[in-house]
Amino acid sequence: MEELRAASVNEIERLFKKRKAIVAIIISIIAIILGQLVVVGIRFGIGSRAADKAEFPLLVLFIFVNAILPLFTALVSIDIFAGEFSQNTMKIAILRPISRLKLFLSKIVAIAFFVFMNLLVVMSLSTLIGMLFNPGNISFMHMLKIVSAYLISIFPVLTVALMVVFLANLFKNGTAAFFASTIVFLGFKVLEFLFGSYKIMFITSMLDWYSRWTGDISVQIVTREFLIMLACSLMAFSGGFYLFDKKEL
């Protein structure tokens, strides 16, 4: 356990030393500011409320979790695996006195930490900006709703990340892995639209999973979607680790 913790901290440090993670967070901030400008534009342009204080962070989350976050999570996940192979630093990592499973896990932990941090930054900022520039009022209940929506979003994003990790281990080349991830992602989005009644089979339809937890929660739907995420995570994790373990230096 101690080994895993140390390895994870090490991975996280290395991740944030790279520019990608910082760029991701900066772009997220720009997205929030643009979102707010659009909302203000709508309000003054067509007189529609569009989003009030309590809604703005959720509006940002919707866009963020459906497009921006998966993109950066994929970039970071690929970098953490395929990047190591291409830069030949994987040798150093593998030769450390730590089992491959723990090494693999520590990388996953680092990705999860990145997702969590990114969500946290976006949540704080969008709430702050939303409070400053939007009408309506925000109560403790609203705050609770926002926090839980952001936290719940970790699940689907992490499932997507695990699938990307599987692809990154399948293609040793980072560019190929990223290309494949993008194709799969867009393909899923299209299929989801074309075959609406089968959309549960496409993990991308669950990125805005938080929205199922507002209003009348349908236990059936939430449970099913959770199971699908669990199943995809299990398959992607075991598949990804199998490939990672098999790798020869």
Binding site: G47, S48, R49, A54, Y198, S218, Y242
Partner: protein, 413 residues
């Protein structure tokens, strides 16, 4: 790789696969309330067009502003295999009442005008075709349906249903302000604002408020009941939209609608008894295409106008004269005349006589003429039977710096 580890990985993978397949299967075989409701709607439309011999639809709506009634309506539509009728009453504000009545079968159509208490009767051709109302017959609707599905997104999950013992279903949905995605809110409230701003000038004692800003959907709720065959019998929906007007006063506009389908296969549409009523027989001769050659005999003019130093100036006119030959033929002439001082514009002035023949029974005619170079050309005349003007085309303008349109007005002596 150790054997144990490999087994564990394989086990994890298979477990994932099993969970995935079984859950996906469960979800796909279990239709959501939203999909079932859509199926019921489609089935209802289809039945009305194809299977039911008769039915009655009663629709009532009301729109209130902060609890004050702006308008309410009651519409009763009856449809059988051989006839249909409508009784509609509208109340605007507290005083303005309007009612309409309409009946239609293979022999006659009757419509009632409440303003002068008169029944107008039109003769029909003797065969009656039921009007198809099913929008899903059209492939465009199915595309729109997909877009709509995408647009409302996860609001679909708000529709729940219960199945009763006799096989009938009850659907219900309730959406609160926080649940409506911002994009839907923005689009809907924008459309809504456009819609009511055009109604703020209506002449009733209670008007629609002119909402300026902070418009959003406050709540939506709806219920629908189907009978055991899946036919929708009852729909009730209510929606509240709120916003501020130009004085900053807050308005809650609430709209309610109920639709009932009843007397299925037992509706009788009865021909109205017009004995002792004020009746006017009309035929559509007024707007019919007839006596054109007689009506349109005369002279028509079209001014040629240019812009000179930021002012418009008339530099000439084009004149068409029509003379009747018989019911379908005209004899005519076309000339161009200039105002003195503008001769330079009319280097290739055109003047010709022509013979025009009406095309079938339409309000247009085709003519042939010999142009200035000696070759035969054709042109068209369209007759505006409402305003008594003509539209005379002869290959447009032949002058590079002149343009004229083809609307000729009658010159009345």
């Amino acid at each position: 790789m150790g054997r144990n580890k490999r087994f564990l990985m394989a086990f994890c993978f298979c477990l994932g696969l099993i969970i995935f397949v079984s859950t996906a299967f469960a979800d796909i075989t279990n239709k959501s309330g939203y999909d079932q409701l859509k199926d019921s709607i489609k089935y209802t439309f289809k039945s009305m067009d194809k299977h039911l011999s008769s039915y009655t639809i009663t629709t009532s709506t009301s729109i209130k502003d902060n609890g004050k009634l702006i308008m309410s309506s009651e519409e009763v539509k009856k449809q059988s295999r051989t006839a249909n009728e409508e009784h509609n009453t509208y109340l605007y504000g507290n005083t303005q009442k309007q009612s309409y009545y309409y009946y239609n079968d293979k022999e006659i159509s009757v419509s009632y005008d409440s303003s002068n208490d008169t029944y107008y009767i039109y003769e029909n051709s003797g065969d009656y075709a039921k009007v198809e109302i099913d929008p899903f017959e059209d492939s465009l609707t199915n595309e729109l349906e997909k877009l709509f599905d995408l647009f409302i997104g996860n609001l679909k999950d708000c529709i729940i249903y219960e199945k009763r013992e006799d096989g009938s279903k009850k659907f219900s949905g309730f959406v609160d302000e926080g649940q409506i995605p911002a994009i839907i809110n923005a689009v809907t409230s924008f459309e809504f604002r456009k819609e009511i701003s055009s109604r703020t000038y209506e002449k009733s004692d209670v008007k629609y408020p002119n909402l300026k800003d902070d418009v959003y959907i406050k709540k939506l709720r709806g219920t629908a009941t189907t009978n055991k065959n899946g036919l929708i019998e009852d729909v009730a929906a209510a929606c509240t939209i709120t916003g501020k007007d130009f004085d900053g006063i807050n308005h809650d506009l609430s709209a309610e609608i109920t639709i009932k389908v009843n007397n299925i296969n037992s509706t009788r549409v009865v021909k109205p008894d017009l004995a002792g009523k004020k009746v006017e027989k009309t035929n559509n001769k007024e707007n019919q295409v007839s006596n054109i050659t007689e009506k349109f005999e005369g002279m028509y003019k079209n001014d040629i106008v240019i812009q000179n130093d930021g002012k418009y100036e008339k530099i000439g006119e084009r004149i068409v004269e029509l003379a009747r030959l018989d019911d379908t033929n005209f004899k005519g002439s076309y000339t161009e005349e200039y105002v003195s001082g503008y001769e330079d514009y009319f280097i290739s002035k055109e003047t010709f006589d022509f013979d025009a023949t009406l095309i079938d029974s339409s309000a247009s005619a085709k003519y042939t003429y010999i142009d200035s170079t000696g070759s035969e050309k054709t042109g068209y005349i369209n007759f505006d039977t409402v305003n008594g003007k003509i539209f005379f085309s002869n290959n447009g303008s032949r002058y590079k710096d002149l343009s004229f349109d083809n609307n000729f007005s009658r010159v009345f002596e």
